[in-house]
């Protein structure tokens, strides 16, 4: 009997911790005594990750005038923190395997997540937020609770899906009614298990209710808005068929003009296809 989001992670060893390579990168980035050389060495040991990272850095995502051919070059141009965040996004996508295809098309799921990530990164840049790459990662992470549900409780998840279809309900509302919790609270537990920074935990936990975030309501509001944009633009699909309702408090907190939508749409359309090609 599943009674809490915590139960879902018990015994789910495949995703209950992040790949060792990411933990090592993270440790090196956070350690003031480690050098760029150390970080480069750790990344280079994972050939797949190295190749993906270079593809992303050379995509429309960054639009650098010159090709970035090596990890040391990427570190010096993008920065260690930002490269760490991109490595996290790539590692997370590779982690989930064997999701029942009748519950979600995994490619569409990641497309939605990438769309949210690009939208969040763009909105964050308009607000002059620091290290915008963490918002891209937040987009990748925001719905991962749903993947855990599809793996661990496929039947209950299917019932929630059917319930939302039948009653024209938002999926996260149907989940809460069916299970007593929704994918956002499952995602929160996952972020804790992965020992990710508290702002990622709050973003994931509150992306539908950003006004309830205790320490990072702005970050949560940005991803909340980005999720609405990705749905409205029809980028991929997380299983939710409706554009989620806007949280009024979050909108006011961001203090963005409505006119930010046009350049944000343009930026997303410019980057989305390329990001999907390089990251998926």
């Amino acid at each position: 009997m599943i009674t809490s989001p915590n139960d879902l992670l018990k015994g789910y060893v495949e995703v209950s911790s992040l790949p060792a390579v990411f933990a090592r990168i993270n440790e090196a980035v956070n350690n003031p005594r480690s050098s760029m050389n150390d970080i480069e060495k750790i990344i280079s040991e994972d050939a797949g990750l190295t190749a993906r990272l270079l593809m992303v850095v050379n995509s429309a995502f960054f639009n650098f005038p010159q090709r970035v051919e090596s990890i040391p070059k990427a570190i010096s141009i993008v920065g260690t923190q930002q490269l760490r965040d991109l490595a996290l996004a790539i590692s997370v996508i590779r982690l989930f395997k064997g999701i029942p295809p009748d519950l979600v098309n995994i490619e569409q799921f990641w497309k939605h997540s990438i769309g949210v990530g690009i939208a969040a990164r763009t909105l964050a840049a308009f607000r002059r937020e620091t290290n915008v790459e963490r918002f891209f990662v937040a987009g990748i992470l925001h719905d991962t609770g749903r993947l855990v549900m599809y793996m661990k409780i496929p039947d209950l998840s299917r019932e929630a899906l059917l319930r939302s279809r039948k009653n024209n309900e938002l999926l996260y509302v149907a989940e809460a009614e069916q299970l007593g919790f929704d994918h956002a609270s499952v995602g929160r537990v996952l972020m804790q298990a992965w020992k990710l920074p508290f702002y990622q935990e709050e973003i994931v936990a509150f992306h539908h209710k950003p006004n309830l975030a205790t320490r990072f309501p702005v970050e949560a509001a940005i991803v909340h808005l980005a999720d609405i944009l990705a749905h409205s633009m029809g980028l991929g699909s997380s299983g939710e068929r409706y554009v989620p309702p806007l949280n009024q408090e979050a909108w006011e907190r961001l203090a963005l003009p409505v006119s930010v939508l046009v350049p944000t749409f343009e930026q997303i359309d410019r980057q989305f296809e390329d990001a999907v090609k390089t990251i998926l």
Partner: protein
């Protein structure tokens, strides 16, 4: 006067209000005629809209869909009404999001069908 998105503003249009940066400092003065250079400066400053004389938001919105296939537009609007079931259509954000999403979707459909033919 109407608040226009930056991409709708053209050289020769006249400001109906001061353009302020995010700290409330005046960048361009009310009554100024917009030039291509000013447009570029506004973009670089991250300004996304401005009040323009003699144009209403309604006129500009109507113009944006002028060239679109009317039948396709109506059909797409109906599809988006469904997807926006839980949105607050009274809110200015949702209204603009709806408008832009519909136009974008129609452009995509027209682009695809043109290529198919």
């Amino acid at each position: 006067m109407g608040k226009l998105n930056l991409d709708e503003i053209q050289p020769g249009m006249v400001l109906a209000a001061d353009v302020l940066d995010r700290n409330g400092r005046v960048l361009l003065k009310n009554g100024l005629e917009i030039s291509a250079t000013y447009l570029m400066i506004l973009k670089q400053w991250g300004i996304t809209d401005a009040d323009i004389q003699g144009l209403s938001r309604e006129e500009v919105n109507a113009k944006a869909v002028e060239s679109l296939d009317k039948e396709l537009l109506a059909k797409t609007e109906a599809e988006f009404q469904e997807v926006f079931l839980h949105a607050d259509r009274q809110h200015s954000f949702d209204q603009e999001l709806f408008r832009l999403s519909v136009i974008r979707a129609v452009h995509k459909k027209m682009g695809v069908s043109a290529r198919d033919n």
